[in-house]
């Protein structure tokens, strides 16, 4: 056991896998010598050598395409996209290629790549360093989407993703890299060291994809969330005194529907929270599944607290970013009826 923040936990996952499996290699923009703009690949090149962790041209499409070709060869590339806001030049290679190669070859070729990329707001990054485009991946048959919320989960889920024989989009909540941000930007920053999930085994371990975690038990309302919003939601429950059950999905595809349905059948109410704009966000899929599978248990409509349907504004970081108060208000909405 060691105490790690999320950056160190992710770094450790790659370090362990590069060590264990000669087929694992890591690359991306500034990911080699420098160790990444968020330092997540720090030291990997020095420790494991030039070809195990290296820099790439500024071509997200090339990073993903090269990763696909390597995966087809039989390697397990871990690709870093510097910010998910910059993943769209690679969108065609992800959607038309990585997601479909197993299928169009009837299993003859497979694409075991992991695409790591920071997402989400809370850092005054403005419209091109704050986006949460998860639903643009969950709609694509053939892609899995993972979003951790703690150092412990981050490492275990990343190792599972690397070992997965299908492409995985691994979204890293950058606002959680250094601490469990609860949405109170006006309060002093809490480091991970104070959080139990920062105790992380140094070695190999996995957390299965497709299993949600109930991070707070409660009877009043089920809150479905992931990434940074998990900590905001728990804080909202504590501060509002609403006895919410907070479920951290951890994996959006495949989805742990059972855990969701069991909880909503218990509470009878449901709130979905995410940073992405509301329209056609992943919350729409969650709300639709909940109303279908828990129809007779629902005492109020499933509510959504999501990002506004606008790009992410720079100066209005804290107007746009979802804090505990907005989440609590959403919980109350479900209770009012």
């Amino acid at each position: 056991m060691a105490n790690m923040n999320m950056i160190q936990a992710l770094n450790s996952a790659m370090d362990v896998m590069i060590e264990r499996d000669p087929k694992v290699l890591v690359f991306g923009e500034d990911a080699g010598y420098f160790g990444g703009v968020f330092r997540v690949t720090d030291g990997l090149q020095k420790k494991h050598g030039m070809t195990r962790c290296f820099d790439t041209p500024i071509s997200e499409g090339g990073i993903v395409a090269a990763g696909i070709g390597m995966a087809v060869y039989g390697l397990r590339p871990v690709l870093e996209i510097q910010f998910v806001d910059y993943i769209f030049p690679a969108y065609d290679q992800l959607v038309s290629e990585a997601a479909k190669i197993r299928w169009r070859s009837a299993g003859g070729y497979t694409v075991p790549i992991t695409v790591r990329t920071p997402y989400g707001g809370g850092i005054f990054g403005g419209q091109t360093h704050s986006q949460s485009p998860e639903s643009l991946f969950t709609h694509i048959a053939g892609l899995k989407t993972v979003i951790p919320s703690t150092p412990y989960d981050a490492k275990g889920l990343l190792i599972s993703a690397i070992e997965m024989n299908d492409p995985v989009i691994f979204l890293e909540p950058k606002r959680l890299y250094n601490g469990p941000f609860n949405g109170h930007h006006d309060q002093p920053v809490v480091p991970w060291s104070k959080h139990p999930a920062s105790d992380v085994p140094e070695g190999y371990y996995t957390i299965p994809l497709g299993k949600a975690a109930t991070v707070r038990e409660g009877d009043a309302v089920t809150v479905l969330c992931y990434g940074t919003m998990v900590h905001v939601a728990v804080t909202a429950a504590e501060e509002s005194g609403i006895d919410a059950e907070v479920i951290d999905l951890r994996t959006l595809v495949p989805l742990d529907l059972e855990a969701i349905v069991a909880s909503v059948k218990k509470t009878g109410r449901c709130l979905v929270v995410h940073e992405a704009p509301e329209t056609s966000g992943y919350g729409a899929e969650l709300a639709t599944l909940v109303q279908k599978h828990c129809f007779y248990h629902l005492e109020a409509p499933v509510e959504r607290v999501c990002g506004y349907d606008t790009p992410y504004p720079h100066a209005f970081e804290w107007d746009y970013f979802i804090g505990p108060d907005r989440v609590a208000a959403g919980m109350r909405l479900t209770l009012e009826r």
């Binding site: 499409g61 395409a65 070709g69």
Partner: protein, 410 residues
């Protein structure tokens, strides 16, 4: 007329449209044998001229001349010729089958057969190919059973892709043939990645990838060239410049201002421009590039100048946008006839043997076709199970796929 010198939007126009007489005067054709052949270890900066020239071995008197002559023995040449005949017979039959409604769609490489077949013969069978849809001959040359290809075209019960894919979007791992994509040029940077992986693994297999003149306009083509240059990947990037991209002549793809081989010069890659209807020139160029790649000198871009003799696909009618007799006027001729002429000139082949083999090939194809059709065609006979569409999304299908499969009752 100051306006004349003002900027005006320039739209490239081909030399001839339906009704016009074909005009290929824009294409400069140097003497066969006139282009130098640098050592395979030479510096790309020392051979930029090759991107603007045209490597030719077979002259118009059927002789093989110059430094690029690969000096292949007659048996090898006969094998190449037979493969071209067989390839053409196969594509001809499948095309007819589509016309008869036995499948939805088909595409032919008529007039471009030398390219795929010469690659297959000049590369090792272990080298990995990321093709477009006009290199079916490559698969045939590597010994892929025609019946397996037919079963895919018919999407019948024996289709190894279980009916999931569009005709001729083959995938044959056992023949180093990557699952063809319908999305143009995506395979180019993938092939480069595969080659990077081979180099990473200390493997001496190389990759080859193919695309058309039109597809070179996609960003993925540049991306592939760039990564190949930066990481010195052992890969051959082959552009079939067959003059047309559906209805657009190569000028719309940027062929008006320079050659397609020049794209490689732009990123510092050695770049060759080759007569694509000259089997010997194609073979020699691929052999040269393969030797470079295998000896750690990295990638080569090759532009093959050829002509798309048939419509783009079975959905296309080329007489709507180009002169019907354009292929007849194509100065580089028919690769099959040119190789045949060479063999006959060498006294290693004859009209009689040719006709006999053509008949043999037709009969073989027809027999296999009957076999395939006995299993089924797109709308008749035995089909694969629709289950396949759920089984191959992920290694382990999730609850959605199980539910949806049940809903479909399979």
């Amino acid at each position: 007329m100051q306006n004349l010198s003002k900027p005006r939007l320039h739209i490239p126009v081909p030399a001839a449209r339906p009704g016009d007489t074909p005009d290929f005067s824009r294409l400069e054709i140097p003497e066969a044998g006139s282009v130098r052949r640098p050592d395979t270890a030479s510096d790309p900066a020392e051979m930029r001229d090759l991107a603007y020239d045209l490597i030719r071995v077979l002259d118009f008197d059927h002789r093989a001349v110059g430094p690029w002559d690969p000096r292949l023995d007659p048996e090898t040449l006969r094998r190449a010729l037979r493969l071209m005949v067989l390839d053409r017979a196969f594509e001809e039959r499948m095309h007819q089958a589509q016309r008869q409604g036995k499948t939805s769609f088909f595409m032919r490489g008529l007039g471009e057969e030398a390219i795929g077949i010469a690659h297959a013969m000049a590369l090792s069978d272990e080298d990995m190919c990321f093709t477009s849809y006009r290199q079916q001959g490559l698969l045939i040359a590597r010994g892929c059973p025609l019946i397996d290809m037919m079963n895919q075209v018919y999407n019948n019960a024996a289709d190894k892709l279980h009916g999931l894919q569009v005709p001729l979007h083959y995938s044959f791992p056992e023949f180093g043939y990557f699952a063809m994509s319908g999305n143009l040029a995506t395979q180019v940077p993938q092939a480069v990645g595969w080659a990077m992986a081979a180099a990473y693994s200390g493997d001496d297999r190389i990759a080859a990838t193919f695309l058309g003149d039109g597809a070179t306009a996609e960003g993925d083509f540049y991306t592939g060239l760039l990564f190949a240059s930066v990481y010195r990947a052992p890969v051959i990037i082959s552009v079939s410049n067959n003059q047309w991209a559906i209805s657009c002549f190569a000028g719309i793809a940027g062929g008006e201002r320079t050659t397609f081989a020049a794209r490689g010069v732009g990123v510092g890659l050695p770049s060759l421009r080759v007569d694509g209807n000259d089997f010997l020139a194609v073979y020699a160029a691929v052999q040269w590039a393969a030797e470079r790649a295998r000896s750690n000198h990295g990638a080569t871009l090759i532009e093959f100048v050829t002509y798309r003799a048939h419509g783009h696909s079975t959905s296309d009618d080329p007489t709507r946008y180009r002169p019907a007799d354009e292929f007849a006027a194509w100065p580089l001729g028919d690769p099959l006839q040119r190789l045949k002429g060479h063999l006959v000139a060498l006294d290693e082949w004859s009209e009689e043997r040719h006709q006999a083999y053509e008949q043999e090939a037709k009969d073989e194809v027809r027999a296999l076709q009957r076999e395939a059709e006995a299993i089924g065609t797109l709308h008749t006979g035995t089909k694969p199970s629709a289950r396949a569409m759920f089984d191959h999304v992920f290694e382990e299908s999730d609850w959605r796929h199980r539910r949806q499969r049940q809903e479909m009752g399979i």
